[in-house]
Symmetry: C2
Subunit: 216 residues, 2 copies
DNA sequence: CTATGTGAAGGTGTTCACAGCA
DNA sequence: TGCTGTGAACACCTTCACATAG
């Protein structure tokens, strides 16, 4: 929930999910001022969509002119809490977990991976640029010590639910789950996002055999 | 578009995206018969949702009883065209591309990666279980030779649009894009799905600081 | 005269409630 | 009786159209 003057409105999840795309487009364009039309174009959405999304949080633009790019980027960072240094733990240093850690190292995203843990003793101790893989037992400890709010699950299916339970118990507020299983999380205040490459590819197979429109 | 008796209705994209989850749940449960309630539970959706989704394609169940699991799985495979042997090409054998190829090797998904190409000569020739990385120049040739319908883009941002253009020109019907950029694809019959780890993590940051519900 | 901010309209997807059939 | 299949109600999101401010 977000406060705006006296108004208090529910923010659609779809809006939240578009904000990072606006943020990236703003950075990529590199202009001082942008219009909702130009920003929408760059991010792959309509200008009305851009204005509606931003209007949930306030009136950031100047009528007849557009938006101050730097100021708008700062506002979006604030809304997404990216200015607060969000820290994440990666559970599972297998192929996917490793690729993910290195990936986010290269692309600065304002979400920092602050810990990597794995159950396999042979993997524990592996060094990344600035991180060392720690034993799974340390999960709760590092979450508390480093004030980690986000959990990223890249363990096999069979271990995923147990890991999710421990993450929630340890106090993370959001989970990004790459394991191929629908997690059950009792605490309704913990947000769970599921990314499943196999399911995505299977869904895509449908469109290989039929006309469809593209999606930004 | 899908034909059903005389009826011809538009299938919601959301429905298509849930079908693979149903398929996995069916396999995982391993029962002979399932109810929409049990299937929904396992896949993470409501029973009404399951019934509505399936009803777009026909009446597969028996009232008062449920669904024949094996038969239903077969129907879903047919709807998604997974029984037709959908073949995909991975463009970009970097960290993510490699992880993806090995990942889909392990988890059988009925979508087969039939080619991997890369622009870097040092990477060309790298051997996977049953695949060899081929030069980027061969992109059009292998798509034609192996009747490939799906393109998976795991190249850097700067190269993604050009790769997309070549994939579309070469005749793929669907694209899965992991590059952090909103692709422009002129042909509206080509379906584009964008998976962006950075954007996902940034959106998730919002929920680290606010109450939210979980999503299956 | 331009581009924002926003109520109203329109469309799409989900949930409800129950009729219909084994 | 039990569970499917489905119209109707509802909730949600996007697009339209325009008043409004610079």
């Amino acid at each position: 929930m977000e406060r705006h003057d006296g108004k208090l409105r529910r923010i659609p999840e779809t809006t939240i999910r578009r904000l990072p795309a606006y943020l990236r487009a703003l950075t990529l364009m590199g202009h001082d001022r942008v219009t909702s039309d130009a920003l929408g174009q760059a991010a792959g959405y309509s200008s009305e969509q851009v204005r509606k999304d931003l209007a949930y949080f306030g009136a950031f633009g100047t009528r007849g002119v557009g938006y101050d790019a730097k100021m708008l980027a700062q506002e979006i960072r604030r809304i997404l809490q990216l200015d607060q240094g969000v820290r994440a733990i990666v559970v599972g240093a297998g192929r996917l977990g490793t690729a993910l850690v290195r990936h986010t190292d290269e692309i600065s995203s304002d979400v920092v991976i602050s810990a990597v843990v794995d159950v396999n003793p042979a993997v524990v101790g592996t060094q990344f640029d600035h991180l060392t893989v720690e034993p799974l037992e340390r999960l709760e400890a590092v979450i508390q010590e480093r004030d980690i709010g986000m959990g990223i699950i890249t363990v096999p299916q069979s271990a995923a639910q147990a890991v999710a339970n421990r993450l929630v118990e340890a106090g993370v507020r959001a989970i990004l789950n790459f394991a191929p299983v629908a997690l059950t999380v009792n605490d309704p205040t913990v947000f769970v996002q599921h990314i499943d490459l196999t399911l995505e590819m299977q869904a895509l197979a449908y469109f290989v055999g039929s006309a469809a429109r593209s999606e930004p």
